[in-house]
């Protein structure tokens, strides 16, 4: 049934199949490239819109930070006055990287947060994106409160049975707030953020 195996036809066959498959992949990649870019841009813009107060003009992506830890951020401003920052903040969660978009007002108040991607346990840590009580507490989280979970002496209500995810989430928000303080010229630099307890 199958053709006899000689060196010549084995090489020919593998080469032909690989060339053909490569060509197919190239075509599909080129055909879907724009759609994929558009989809990821839309997801990013949706998350920025969600965490910032309405009415500002959102800047292009900017970045700051040093030595391995850089933060991508967007500034929302109106008539030259900064309204808020949206900082993309990544930390390691329980099951892998946890990436948040954090909206922070210039005075350090957290405006809102949104989960960009996570790989937390379904039914446990994954609730950080859906659990109403946990998500709601980030809306207008005042700068005077301590960004640590209550178990560690802070003011953040953790998700039941998901302390590690809650700590990671809180650290990501704390890092974002530190970035904004740094951008606003406050004393707490980004270096202070990376030393935050976790």
């Amino acid at each position: 049934m199958a053709a006899k195996s000689t060196l010549r036809n084995m090489v020919l066959c593998l080469t032909a199949v690989c060339l053909l498959c490569g060509a197919v992949l190239g075509l599909v990649y080129a055909a879907t490239y724009d759609a994929i870019e558009a989809a990821s841009l839309k997801a990013l813009q949706a998350s920025i819109g969600e965490v910032l107060p309405e009415g500002g003009e959102i800047s292009e992506a900017m970045s700051c930070g040093d030595e391995g830890q850089t933060y991508e951020y967007y500034v929302s401003s109106r008539e030259g006055e900064t309204l808020a920052y949206a900082v993309k903040s990544t930390v390691s969660g329980f099951g892998g990287p946890l990436t948040l978009m954090v909206g922070v007002l210039p005075d350090g108040t957290v405006y809102n947060t949104s989960v960009l991607s996570h790989s937390e346990t379904p039914g446990l840590g994954a609730k950080c994106a859906t659990d109403a009580a946990f998500v709601e507490q980030w809306k207008n989280f005042p700068a005077s409160k301590v960004l640590k979970v209550k178990k560690d002496g802070g003011d953040v209500d953790a998700i039941t049975a998901s302390t590690i995810t809650s700590r990671a989430y809180t650290l990501a928000v704390a890092n974002a707030v530190a970035v904004v303080k740094y951008l606003e010229g406050g004393s707490d630099g980004v270096d202070a953020a990376s030393g935050a307890s976790y």
């Binding site: 049934m1 084995m10 066959c13 593998l14 992949l25 599909v28 989809a39």
Partner: protein, 194 residues
């Protein structure tokens, strides 16, 4: 007509990949945390299975025996990558949930298993039907496992809350996957497989 139907039905009952052949356990256990996830994973596998079955049955007579496995893997990997790109472009939210398990379809034993056991000795048409049958069998099995785990574990059905509270957490996690799979497999073999 009767032969075509029986080819499809075989994939459902006699050759049911999950409950009878017990193949593809990695995605079965890992992605069935909800009915929707099980359904999407099943459909993704169905897509790859039908196309790879057809392509492999078309090229099988020309492929030298000693290199047939690498050739099949290249063909399967191509379709998986095509699927991955299409999902990223058009259903990014589904892609984000299934993530890692889409590329892992390449090493799903069902796909290579059907290529070896069926597609390389049958016509393109018959292989397509076999792919549809086995793929649908896999899809239905995963959806049922997902349904049971979602109802017991999260108290919801396709994302709709049907009773209040959190449900039994264990069913969302790995132990629940094994329990549900084991009981469903026992029921399936008792009542459906004659």
């Amino acid at each position: 007509m009767g032969k075509k139907m029986s080819l499809i039905l075989d994939g459902f009952v006699k050759n049911n990949p999950t409950f009878v052949l017990v193949l593809g356990m990695c995605p079965t256990l890992a992605t069935t945390t909800s009915a929707m996830n099980g359904l999407s994973m099943g459909l993704a596998t169905l897509f790859v299975l039908v196309l790879s079955n057809m392509a492999i049955s078309a090229i099988a007579p020309m492929v030298p025996d000693k290199v047939h496995i690498p050739v099949y893997i290249v063909v399967i990997a191509t379709f998986v990558t095509v699927l991955q790109l299409l999902m990223q472009a058009f259903v990014p939210s589904v892609y984000a949930t299934l993530g890692l398990f889409i590329p892992l379809i390449v090493v799903n034993c069902i796909v290579l298993g059907r290529a070896e056991a069926f597609a390389n000795k049958n016509t393109v048409g018959a292989s397509a039907l076999d792919g549809i049958g086995v793929g649908l069998g896999f899809t239905v099995s995963l959806t049922v496992i997902g349904l049971v785990r979602e109802i017991l574990g999260s108290g919801s059905l396709f994302g709709w809350k049907i009773f209040p509270g959190d449900g039994v957490l264990a069913f969302v996690m790995a132990p629940g996957a094994f329990l549900v799979l084991g009981y469903l497999m026992a029921l399936f073999n008792k009542y459906l497989k004659k």
